[in-house]
Symmetry: C2
Subunit: 668 residues, 2 copies
């Protein structure tokens, strides 16, 4: 099978116009059947998608996770029927026509928005606007970084994105395009579906942005074309592939193109066209087939793309087979960390138990990272411009720079949301384990992408320091209160709040081993004492909570704490024992989610039956689960304040005395 | 007292250079004394601030809330010592030198970042980067809207903003500048502290953005100047004031300007200069005074600004006194809603109890808004491009358009974060009560600014629809799970989740009356039945939770629910009574925060002592507080799915049957 020259339409019996009309018909019919969905975008971008797939994209539906495939990201995720239509037409095994017929129905793979993991070939979950383009920046960066390590022979692909006005209005797009322009991510090609329509009506209701000029300001290569002119589309893609910068192709389109009475109107955006308009569209575009029926010659033309992709993949596999890099490349793309990482962390814990090292957990994290990054080069670090506060860089890490991707540390800039989305893209691309830092309070800025880490089950590690009023003088805008609850309420995400250097190393181990769930490491600015008495090979944080200090006899009280407040709980327990003769256990609970997964007996043995007091310098919400009806909570009841940390702990009455008093009130 | 011609420095015995050096000295000395803070930015922007205040700004420290004052926003809030130095120099009564000497200490007004309400003249809380500029867009918009209503005679002021690289890298800045450019907010003037330094080092580590070109693409008037050249600064401000568009003045500055060995380095950004460098700076800039001592002639020059401002204010007050608009203007700026609003809402409730109106609560909200917006013109609505989904526009509302500010509805565009910040700015400016809509899930995008609504105690009303899996086919990316917990954990914010049209009207009343706290109205996409049996003038939602269905005798169980799940709880109670003879009460709990504020007796009377089951189509986190040790929860345990809503409720087992079963398991 010969490979088609890029940019020239392969000779087939049907035109690309017919091929595009197949997308239009499937999209309008599926939305109509579901009585829900967005036909306008797939119909408007059908021509661009057809030329892109027919002439350029290298994917193999028979092997959808081939590492050197091109990545296709539908950032305008509401146009999901574009993606499902493509997948059916290309012949993905899990996307028979029945899936399109059950669009948006329970249990189907054809969810309202493309969901990573629901169907083969969906590279990332989209729908929340701006996420796709920002995730794609991470993919395009990972591609260049992987190529820098393993050579263009093994890694040489593009990331193509379709984005709409919504994606480009969202703030995250600014962070993404600035970072991509700066790093000169030349394998990133973004199609802007410039249809001048958003949900409220014409985009002129709310924006006057000159998008091409904006992208030029960010260092992008920019072209503007008629998005319905196949040759113009092909030429623009050719040019974009030649550019040494990321490329914007502004495609002037008609939303709902083909629908004679509704095209160009916001009415085609988010609702079925209706039977009459669908009939009129069929006539208008010359589509005689019944709903969900694609003529054999047109289907053949589409399936030909798949065959050509398969051929490309086979050629690549031959290169891989002959490459001296093969083993290390395969280990990287499998994402398997070497045992040396975990051996190093175990040795690290042993060393620091013996030394009784007293450091802030952010410092402990830096030290643990030193061990990790020495034992593997799969980790890719970074920070949203707080490198020396988050302590995310370790010795010997070089920065990733424009056109120089050999490094492993990314200065993400003051772009928490963009960083989180880029890390999603890096993790999805494969080859690396990304971690990135900011202050915990600015999880607020990153929330949209952090939720997608969880929804997609990606191993993204958030290093979030300055985790409470303990950060001190910066004051309430920088002091998290509700953020622990926010993250604990998020499904499929582990929040770790370690109490000392040992737990920090344990939590790092758990985060690295958590291949299908993001982790948030929540770390102190202030120094914390080492609380363990002896080393054990067991990772005690792995059960989420454990008894750090047990009593000799029956417990009079149990104190539960996380992170920097475990020290306070230990002091309170000592006080209760020494001054009041009350046998008081201390439970450290670095990870609620893992504790919830333990069996009831274990949970009961940890929590005990004595009155319980929880202490955490944060909102109470959620703690009643662990302290029960007769428990007490010592923590924050409002926002923080600006002052040195010790003053704040006293001011907000989060002290050993307050905890001991609360316990005594429960016992008496 | 004669008014100085704008743009010309008043004749004083001291130079503006000396005046600026007073800022430099106070900033470096205060940071040194606190051993914490950011001297670099105040020292770098001292010249710009001096020219701005000396020649242009109209403020009156003796009457800091004069409605027609210029607004000054320090978006780069870490440079708070710039603001505190200005306030001391200008003679704000609450900012004596002792406050600067207790910078960043407990109880002082000089918090780490400027905190609204902590000191007179602080127009908004800043620190989280990008918020200041985005809030300022709301202020500048409110100014034009107020002027459109009351005339330029009463409303004619500018909003000046100082922003750093961090502010301009954050995504929210994109949303803000696009909106400001689109609406042609010509009274907005933004100084960019272009010092090429961020925390990690030179900005070239992470950005290659051509900021002037970027602002031009957004429709701004753009100038680039030497930020240490007083005449250039003055000329640029003059030009900006003449422009019919918002203005960027890119000010090339040296961070830490004046510190001979450290200026231009990131080392001046976030740490004290140290005694040796401070001594060298004193020598370098010719500042012989002791720490916190400002020579009398220099202080006089600064205090002269205050006097001139006072004179301007008095002239304005004369205009107001003679204005036929006076009464209505004063009512608007006081933010007092007319009684007619609440009378209309009461009549609305009575009408719909009698009609037993069954609508989605988002529709109920639209209907209630119809009554509200008819009774007052202080409300300003909007949506982040989901107007016809959030149902935020009512009959007769005109849109706010470029250079046309008479309307009361804002198409915020696909900019949730920018919308939230703009609403903060509108509320802070005064004259309006802003509300704005998006899907609840996209509270994620708006979080940063929503937190500031709460921290600043602003009456901003978020209309967040599509509040659960009840939104159906759009799927898990659009279905909130953890968002209720996230918002409930946020201090000083009321989250309302009404169960029917009556509660919706009640919650709107409570939100409008909540003058010092933002409210989030969480509303269903799907229809919900009217649950009340009779009208009462009492607002039953005002206590946060109440017994919707009481039992005749002792309760066998209590079911607690919010929003769309109250209907399910009622059905479950009926089932338990009818099929099992179990007397079951139903509690509707539209607002946890208000319920928590009730006395213990009331809370106990509502919750009862029978076993409790809570039902809410969201995460459990937080519910244990209300269901207790022996309670049960029916809700979500992970992310949602894409399907019609009724299918999803069945799939996730959030049904009357599941609730009844859970209750029976507790009773038996």
């Amino acid at each position: 099978m010969s490979q088609t020259a890029i940019g020239t339409a392969p000779e087939t019996a049907v035109s690309e116009r017919d091929m595009a009309n197949a997308i239009r018909a499937l999209a309008m019919d599926a939305v109509q059947k579901a009585n829900s969905g967005h036909p306008g975008m797939p119909m408007g971008m059908a021509d661009v998608a057809t030329v892109l797939f027919n002439r350029f994209i290298a994917i193999d539906p028979s092997n959808p996770s081939w590492p050197d495939r091109d990545r296709f990201v539908l950032s305008a995720g509401h146009g999901s029927m574009l993606q499902y239509a493509l997948h059916y037409l290309l012949g993905y095994a899990d996307m028979p026509i029945e899936q399109l017929q059950s669009f948006r129905q329970l249990g189907s793979r054809t969810a309202g928005h493309p969901e990573y993991g629901h169907a083969l070939g969906i590279e990332t979950t989209t729908g929340p606007l701006g996420q796709g383009i920002s995730t794609a920046v991470g993919m395009a960066l990972a591609e260049r970084m992987l190529a820098a390590r393993h050579g263009d022979d093994l890694v040489d692909h593009h990331t193509y994105v379709i984005a709409g006005d919504g994606c480009l209005q969202e703030g995250i797009s600014h962070e993404a395009i600035d970072l991509a322009g700066h790093l000169m991510l030349d394998r990133l090609i973004l199609f802007w579906d410039d249809n001048s329509i958003s949900i409220d009506g014409p985009t002129s209701l709310s924006t006057s942005m000159n998008q091409p000029a904006r992208f030029e300001a960010a260092g992008w290569h920019v072209q503007s074309i008629d998005g319905h002119d196949a040759e113009a589309i092909a030429e623009a893609i050719e040019n974009a592939r030649q550019s040494d910068r990321p490329s914007l192709i502004a495609c002037k389109t008609l939303i709902g193109k083909g629908a004679p009475n509704l095209q160009g109107s916001e009415k085609t955006h988010g609702a079925p066209l209706g039977d009459a308009e669908i009939a009129a569209t069929r006539e208008n575009i010359g589509w005689a087939s019944a709903p969900f029926d694609v003529p054999a010659d047109i289907l053949d033309a589409w399936r030909g793309i798949a065959s050509r992709g398969q051929a490309k993949r086979r050629i690549w596999e031959q290169r891989l087979a002959g490459s001296p890099q093969r083993e290390v490349f395969e280990a990287a793309t499998a994402g398997e960390l070497p045992d040396a990482v975990f051996e190093a962390l175990n040795a690290f814990r042993k060393e620091h138990v013996e030394k009784a090292t007293k450091v802030a957990t952010r410092k402990a994290s830096e030290m643990a990272l030193g061990a990790i990054n020495t034992a593997t080069d799969l980790t890719v670090g970074g920070s949203a411009d707080l490198t020396h506060s988050n302590l995310t860089i370790t010795k010997g890490m070089n920065r990733v720079a424009p056109s120089d991707y050999a490094g492993s540390y990314i200065h993400y800039g003051i772009r928490e949301h963009g960083m989180a989305a880029a890390m999603n893209g890096i993790a999805l691309h494969g080859g690396f384990v990304p971690y990135g830092g900011t202050f915990l309070c600015f999880a607020d800025y990153a929330r949209g992408a952090m939720r997608l880490s969880a929804l997609m089950g990606q191993r993204v590690i958030y290093v979030m320091t300055h985790d409470s009023i303990g950060l001190g003088e910066d004051g309430p805008t920088h002091q998290p209160v509700e953020h622990l609850a926010m993250l604990r309420a998020t499904p499929n995400l582990n929040l770790f709040r370690p109490a000392d250097i040992i737990e920090t190393a344990e939590c790092w181990e758990l985060a690295l081993k958590s291949k299908d769930r993001p982790s948030v490491l929540v770390l102190s600015r202030q120094n914390l004492p080492m609380l363990r008495h002896a080393h054990s090979d067991e990772n005690r944080s792995a059960r989420g909570a454990y008894v750090l200090r047990e009593t000799d006899g029956p417990r009079a009280a149990t104190l539960i704490a996380t992170g920097s407040e475990v020290e306070i709980a230990v002091a309170a327990a000592e006080k209760l024992q020494a001054e009041h003769g009350l046998a008081t256990a201390v439970v450290s609970m670095p990870c609620w989610e893992l504790f919830e997964e333990q069996d009831a007996d274990y949970r009961k043995s940890v929590l005990g039956s004595a009155p319980r007091v929880a202490v955490e310098a944060a909102a109470r919400l959620g703690w009643d689960r662990w302290i029960g009806d007769n428990g007490a909570f010592v923590g924050m009841t409002g926002f923080g304040a600006s002052a040195p940390a010790p003053d704040l702990y006293r001011h907000f009455n989060i002290t050993p005395e307050a905890v001991a008093d609360a316990a005594r009130r429960l016992i008496i």
